[in-house]
């Protein structure tokens, strides 16, 4: 009996490990790809498979655009001259090593940057043809249209699951008549409905980490944003929950434009249509390259991008 178990265990463990360390293993495979062109799980294959499945993204319909963004914290210049387009109906991934300004950039897009007391900014963020930093713009309306999901799941602890999902409406004082329908559709779109439909009156904190993060996504969806910013939404989650959230992102991407910051290049290759690579060489972070995801992972123009996506540094 115990012998049998022992003989099975190593296999199981190997399978588990490859799941957990997906990122590292993929790094190795893509490095060996030159020698072995039939490798099946390289990042470029993943990226190509994804765009092949989705068809070409709708290029041209710009919902959100960052123009010449610079950012400072105190006297420290952290972002230099970032210009990016985010097309509606697409997923854009921002990759790059820690501390290169990805999160700062994403927070600039919905004006969360200004909550840091020493923060400063130059440049424009154009949402539907209007600069969100223009004087007189109602910042709460901007944040209604540009939703955000944070790195750590942060459901409101004093609210039930139902109240959490609908909290955006109450916070922004929007009145709706069909709250139950909206609740169901948001939870369904976030891929959480089946797990929580019988326990909507429990507190959000009772859910697991991955469920809490999907609850936070559902909460962002309830106010019907046109852009959803995700700041490393899966970094605190296990592979199963990560997979579930990636499915969610894929389902959502048809109806809104999504910007996702991630350290996991596999994830960027799996979910995104476009990828921007940020890098800081000790000074301010720069956008080294921005292109379709398959191009970044198959045929990057810059040497630094190639080094990063092939796992040679970072």
């Amino acid at each position: 009996m115990s012998n049998q178990e022992d003989s099975q265990n190593p296999n199981n463990r190997k399978a588990d490990m490859s799941q957990v360390t997906g990122k590292q293993e993929s790094g190795t495979t893509s490095r060996t790809q030159a020698a072995n062109p039939v490798a099946t799980h390289s990042l470029s294959d993943v990226a190509n498979a994804r765009s092949a499945k989705q068809g070409q993204p709708i290029v041209g319909a710009t919902g959100l655009e960052a123009r010449n963004i610079h950012a400072w914290f105190g006297s420290k210049h952290v972002l230099e001259d970032i210009s990016m387009d985010f097309f509606s109906g697409t997923v854009t991934a921002l990759i790059g090593p820690s501390g290169c300004g990805k999160s700062t950039f994403i927070r600039i897009l919905n004006r969360m940057h200004e909550f840091i007391p020493t923060a400063a900014l130059a440049g424009q963020v154009i949402l539907d043809g209007k600069d969100v930093y223009e004087p007189g713009v109602d910042v709460t309306k901007i944040r209604l249209r540009v939703g955000m999901v944070f790195q750590k799941p942060n459901p409101f602890p004093s609210m039930t699951i139902k109240e959490n999902v609908l909290s955006g409406l109450r916070l922004a004082q929007i009145k709706i008549s069909n709250a139950d329908e909206l609740l169901e559709s948001c939870l369904k779109r976030a891929g959480l409905w089946n797990e929580v439909k019988d326990r909507l009156d429990e507190y959000g904190g009772a859910l697991s980490g991955g469920q809490q993060q999907r609850l936070c996504i559902a909460r962002s969806l309830a106010v019907n944003p046109q852009v959803l910013l995700m700041d490393e939404p899966c970094s605190a989650l296990d592979p199963g929950s990560t997979l579930r959230i990636e499915e969610t992102i894929r389902e959502l991407s048809s109806s809104m434009s999504i910007v996702i910051v991630t350290h996991n290049m596999q994830q960027a290759a799996r979910v995104s249509d476009f990828t921007g690579f940020f890098l800081s060489d000790g000074g301010p972070g720069r956008l080294i390259e921005c292109s379709t995801t398959s191009e970044i992972f198959t045929n990057p123009k810059e040497k630094q991008t190639e080094d990063y996506v092939s796992g040679r540094f970072g």
Partner: protein, 351 residues
């Protein structure tokens, strides 16, 4: 494999065996014996002498045993442990003896009549079954409730200004709040006496007492609320704001509900700070022996006043009345705090 699992019993291998406990037990016996001996043969006499010798002997014995059995580091650890235990007992012994004394002297001759009668027709010296402390109960209720109504919003809003709004004067406000929490209570009483009564020409009343207590209560409520609000993770604020809420909506719907039980604790601590205050009340409520249902004018009594007055009279029955007052006040405060805790914990903060 599953059979062996069934045979396993839960054990605690880290537990000390009798053999290991033996040296400590001998050490404890040695400590007590030597202490008794030392008290007997030296001029150190009395309870204080005994306590001092016992502490010194306990530290020495425990340190010596650890040093002999293990090493210097273990000896240091044992010394610190004993010092911590001694410090803890220094806190617990006075508190427990205060409670014991209050119950012993205050719990006798309690009757239902105490809560229906006042002292207007009874002399303090008369038997305990006559008269009561209804006037003190009503007075304390008025004064504390008004003080709570006034200081809770001011204290919590001050904390919100310091933590959430982070206004330009946040540092100054925090400094003043901290300085105010060190104000002697009689100064608060004098302040209200000088401003509200002398300058504005008002007479003794429950509201004057409430004002004085408010001055004392605001800093406690504000400082505790500030600490509580600081514990709310910044993520929650950002999550609220990222959903398109104004700062006020975020605070009202997210921050305050999340901090609710802490804020209730802040108010409870504030009440605990003022409920037994005597000096500011002596200057502001005037004191009375009859029930006064009008909080806006007329002399008012309160538990601390009732206790103070009866202690001053000094006869046996009067002193018993004072202890009764202390006991009843303590029980009421205990019931009130338990209720507040219960209702504060019913909803929210369920993790």
């Amino acid at each position: 494999m599953s059979q062996t699992v069934l045979m396993m019993k839960p054990q605690r291998p880290w537990k000390l065996t009798p053999k290991q406990i033996l040296p400590d037990a001998i050490g404890a016996l040695f400590t007590v014996a030597t202490t008794l001996l030392l008290v007997a043969i030296t001029p150190l006499k009395g309870k204080l002498g005994f306590a001092l010798v016992l502490i010194a002997m306990a530290i020495t014995t425990v340190t010596a045993i650890s040093w002999i059995r293990r090493d210097r580091k273990a000896a240091m650890n044992s010394t610190t442990t004993v010092l911590v235990y001694i410090a803890a007992s220094f806190v617990i012994i006075p508190l427990a003896s205060v409670l014991y004394e209050i119950v012993r002297l205050g719990a006798n001759a309690l009757s239902f009549g105490m809560f229906t009668a006042d002292m207007s027709l009874t002399a303090s010296d008369s038997p305990l079954n006559e008269g009561g402390l209804l006037h003190a109960l009503i007075g304390t209720a008025y004064v504390v409730i008004f003080a709570t109504i006034l200081s809770t919003p001011i204290g919590v809003l001050t904390a919100l200004y310091i933590v959430e709004v982070k206004g330009r004067f946040a540092g100054v406000v925090r400094f003043f709040v901290q300085a105010m929490s060190g104000v002697p209570s009689i100064v608060a009483g004098l302040f209200i006496f000088a401003v509200w009564m002398v300058q504005l020409g008002n007479a003794y009343s429950a509201v004057a007492g409430a004002f004085a207590l408010t001055v004392l209560m605001i800093p406690t409520v504000a400082r505790t609320s500030e600490e509580v609000l600081k514990l709310i993770p910044g993520d929650l604020r950002e999550a609220g704001l990222a959903l398109g809420a104004t700062q006020w909506r975020t605070v009202a719907m997210v921050i305050i509900p999340a901090a609710k039980s802490g804020l209730i604790t802040a108010v409870i601590l504030g009440i605990a700070r003022v409920v037994g205050e005597t000096a500011p009340l002596l200057l502001t409520i005037g004191g009375a022996d009859a029930v006064n249902l009008n909080p806006l004018e007329g002399n008012m009594s309160a538990f601390p006043y009732h206790v103070w007055k009866n202690l001053l009279i000094g006869s046996e029955n009067a002193i018993s009345r004072a202890w009764q007052g202390v006991f009843v006040l303590m029980v009421i405060v205990l019931i009130f705090f338990a209720l507040a805790r219960y209702f504060g914990a019913v909803k929210g903060n369920k993790k």
